[in-house]
Symmetry: D2
């Protein structure tokens, strides 16, 4: 092991192991995420991953019996399993050992009213995306959060992969020069072959525009693509031209979007998000091209980053290897070569949320490394702009 | 070796070896393709590949000394090296052993007037793309070819890769169902970092709109992408919305295009072609998604085709393996596992051109397996439609 | 979502989420794994992953202050941080809430004496590999475990990847026919460039044969390779011919081994394990060839399994997709397409260990899905046989 | 295009285009390679590829009618189609325009007696591998060639891939330091599932030890693997321990070999060659590990070379890109990004053979870039040593 490797290895160990040191675990509850919810499971595992949270309460069903049954199976005590968020917010606020943070993974249309209850009690919020189902809700939620000063994190989990973050760092340190082109694609296939009679089973509340907003596919994964584009490049999308369609014949909501974007630095980009790409599982990929180099990251191969400097061979930079940045290695848990995946990235958001809360408790201004309320609001505005463009026959719309 | 393999191997051997049988080699000349021309070299090698043509004449320079010097170095006799196509057409037509076919790889703006001379003498034409620099030239060239009935082949060479053709066959036999989505990308990087003073060196006649038409990138590779999209799917692009830009700061021509398309069966698609994608070499990829399956072919890995049936594992179909179609295997020369590449595909077009000429000589209607004059005309209309769309702020334009 | 997908998705959710139901969490302690130990961290995270263990005690240093400091930082109470395993075994056995299980990740040479103490108190054992540093220790440990009837699990974590297990299932159901050839490779590079003065830093106790056994590389990763070979094929290695060397010039222990093996069904195989393969990170790969098909799994791409039936295209089977086996999907936590990695596999061993303990408590015979004491003993015999072969100039040695 | 790229592109064009300049084409004939012979086709195409040979004569069958029929279909004149090599050698030597070179692709057992006839007439020889079926033949062929001073080339075609040659250059310039480990594998699957009654169809003369030597798989691809190992590293194999088997149950010849080797610089290596690796197509891969770096080349992806410097990210060096060596680019024909394949590599051997002949004609000592008679002799000694080792239960045997 060379000195460089030792440093890398040391950095790795210091950062992201499970030592909480003198900090206590943060008491957290969840609203949403019942027995068959993948996203509920993901949030709970992410909170447990780095030993930073103690899971103590939750609403898992509107039927109190079901909520208790599920909560107890997760190890909660009966009296902290609730059947609605209002009761939960109230009861928890009355306890000495009540929750300090809450994870919200209900349909987006309910986010505002749920979060409002908890913020009133100074509970910190970690919320699934998209932020809300309307711009109005997004904006008033932003005001609420700003005013209350609680910590707010949005789980744009893909932005927390170590090598995606390495891409962000490489852009930030100028190694690829001025960005000229960006391409993000996310071709999934889950609506292909869905029959009309089954779509409720597959898409659930996503069929209800009051809950999911105006465009299923833009809400589900369009916001992820849009966020990654902004996150890696540190640029903003100025305007968008979109063709958003319901492609699968028996599906009634948008399941494909082709977008062209103009960035605030005059770069151009394209986004493709779909659930109509037959056979597609995840396939999230981002490519960024600058005057001096290019980057490519692909979620199917998340531990590698392709970095090409102008007129040089492409380099495959591996996670936690000796040349990666401090930020990337802090987002990583295991030495180079062993694969990390989805849950580690998700856990990064939770652990950074914990760090923000600890800063809050110490009256320190947090760096808010995780996605913020502003990111959430922009995501909603993006959905509405892209949908509007599509409705206007792909007219360019400012975000 | 199983019976199936033996058949496959037999098919392979019968088809594309170098046996010309009782047919004589076809005498061919070339217009264009001087000492440093990659495309000239490619055409000559492609014509030689399958032993079907005898290369006997050419124009390689407007300076007769240079043309002779280069022609002789290629093995031509001095008197069949010309300094202009008019002399060549005339002199060759007066010989008993004059050329029967001509390959044209000059700037597109010159195609019409060159081809006209040779067609007048019933010389068959194989021409590089794009067909012309204007719609007017394309249309009158089409009329000319139709009227004269000579064979015309356009070298959309990518369409002749065996596994791209396997994709076409799989679509044609209905295995992926009705096509819903298509994505073609071709991100090259050759204009990145080009200085204003050097762009003439890099782009040559492509800077001259009279020669190259209204959009460099659309002409250079946009037409390839558009042709592949049509070729594999057997669908037509009905309309296009485009954002075409000159991205590289010191380059004066279009070097990036993002396109969204609507197909005549109501499928949607997107095309991205670029020479501004830093570090990009070729990267030509096509993906097609239908109601029952999907296909993906990538020129960087040309001997494999990804085929995914709905709810089944992706299959990697390899070139010349025992399950591939007759058409694919006829386009192939070596047993599965050994890599074929660019030149074999290019040679397929030449050999199919030879087959068409032999049919012509026998008064048989040729199947014209290679790209045709109609493909060429459509390509030009596509360029103009896409450019117009971009000029009108990405308005949808019918092709 | 088709019916098949729904079933797959349902299976996924039922199996490996964090519901412990009516079972209580199992109280666990750890011996070994101090502040800079990657393996200690891995064990702790794996135990926490599925919500099945409560981490309550440990020995992290022989210096009680250090042990307490580290234990507390992990959330332990002071009185359950010990400075040696004898005290820990004794004190924990005297508590009503003492540990029910212990994870052992000390040098192999200490395993026997540590485990003996805990087994005496009917504490269940999960132990890192290789089992011991001598055959003698391995054999008497096996006797001890058998006699005591406590649950014993060995953390051959690679065998718990879902798609490696899918390979095992495909072999078991006969889909590849009789196995003829097996190849396992694990080319790492961590001893390359290590200076004599630094090797103690890199290799630590692995330099001490009393702790690590007769061959560093065979103990470190040779046993993993050997176990995977047996695990996937359900065959045994009958004899081995080996060339084991210390390749890196300043390293004093074995860092490369090329092995040829003969299996009990007469198949042949080869194993290559190395830490002298410059630039190698992990690169663990297994390939199995039978009369009707073949399988390939690669830890760098752990969510995919290549499956080739004779004369058919290779299929890429993806983790948790609708066609995978019950066993594979039970070993998986997230829907197809999102990457899982190293820690999920490690956690599978822990969760199966928990399942075995619950069976034990219920007086049910456990299926012992995780690697067992017998696997551990075989691994040690393999190390000694391979080393002996190498010492005898690659003579074939029976295991 | 940068200056560096221009140079690269210029180099490319100068080198391997089809300009023969003032040199005349070399008249060549072939012995072997009838209607269904893949190797015959490959030799003919390779000779035609770079415009350097004129194919004028051949023996394609012992039946003169068949030989004429096939020869004429290839464009030969009737009187230069022969039914045996003795007549061909004699008649051609009597013509003013007789062959100057001959390609030999008969069974190895016939090589010596055929070549002897042509060498007697000072005809240059290009011969398929393995050189002979016995060491005796190999040694006397070497003497013959040395004495006669004709040019002799052996078609170890894999050694002529541009990026394999780039690997050789990188080793030669010291960039990976002292070589410590080498691994070559070539797992094919063509004997799997072959029935006893069909093996003659599949393996033909390879079943006859007098023609094919003592070990089918070692002769067929073992010699390629061995040659590549020597070629890339510039090292020699000192001794070998081998396990060579007939694995497929109905096949009577060797179809799998696992080898361990010790190199003359004390490096260690392993070779695996097989036709029993179910589903394997070609899969030829070489990996070389040195004190400062490592290289990996894979024939399935022949245009890329992986180069890893110690503690740096792996680089993917692409064929003909601006950083590759003169030797690699001279072995290449098209700009980076477009795939080259098997035939280009094969053609390199032919073109280098032509270059050697031209040097010979000019009384210049040729550099003999292509594999030589010595390479051929070593290959045969390797086969016999490996087979002997296997017969002696994998005892180490010196080559």
């Amino acid at each position: 092991m060379t000195k460089k490797e030792k440093i890398a290895f040391g950095r790795l160990n210091q950062m992201r192991n499970d030592q909480i040191g003198k900090n206590k675990k943060i008491r957290i509850g969840f609203v949403g995420g019942g027995p068959n919810s993948f996203i509920g499971y993901s949030h709970r595992l992410a909170s447990r991953f780095d030993n930073r949270f103690e899971f103590v309460a939750g609403v898992f069903s509107r039927d109190i019996k079901k909520s208790i049954s599920f909560g107890q199976s997760l190890g909660l005590s009966k009296d902290r399993c609730y059947d609605n968020f209002i009761t939960m917010a109230k009861k928890e606020s009355q306890r000495g050992d009540g929750i300090e943070a809450v994870g919200v993974m209900t349909p987006s249309g309910d986010h505002y009213k749920i979060i409002r209850e908890f913020v009133a009690n100074k509970v910190h919020i970690i919320c699934d995306k998209p932020l809300t189902a309307t711009i109005k809700d997004a904006v008033r939620l932003e005001k609420l959060i700003k005013k209350s000063k609680v910590i707010f994190a949005l789980t744009h989990n893909y932005s927390a992969y170590p090598m995606l973050r390495e891409a962000k760092e490489i852009v930030a340190n100028g190694s690829i020069g001025k960005i000229n082109l960006i391409n993000v694609e996310y071709p999934q296939g889950y609506t292909v072959g869905v029959k009309r009679k089954d779509q409720k089973n597959t898409l659930k509340w996503r069929l209800d525009k009051r809950m999911a907003g105006p465009s299923m596919i833009l809400a589900e994964i369009g916001t992820h693509a849009y966020h990654l584009m902004r996150y890696v490049t540190n640029l903003e999308v100025k305007e968008v031209a979109a063709e958003v369609n319901s492609i699968s014949s028996e599906v009634t909501v948008d399941d494909n979007a082709f977008l062209i974007v103009r960035m605030n630095n005059n770069a151009r980009g394209s986004i493709w998000v779909s659930s109509a790409a037959t056979g597609g599982e995840n396939g999230l990929k981002i490519r960024v091209y600058g005057t001096n180099g290019a980057l490519e990251w692909f979620q199917d191969d998340p531990n590698n980053l392709k970095f090409t400097e102008l007129n040089k061979p492409t380099q495959i930079i591996t996670r936690a290897s000796s040349t990666v940045s401090e930020f990337s290695i802090r987002s990583s848990r295991i030495a180079a070569g062993h694969p990390e995946g989805f849950f580690e990235a998700f856990a990064n958001i939770y652990t950074e949320f914990a760090d923000s809360i600890i800063d809050y408790k110490k009256n320190k201004k947090s760096k808010l490394i995780h996605p913020s309320i502003q990111d959430g609001v922009k995501g909603i505005k993006f959905i509405f702009a892209a949908k509007k463009s599509s409705n206007l026959n792909s007219k360019w719309i400012k975000i």
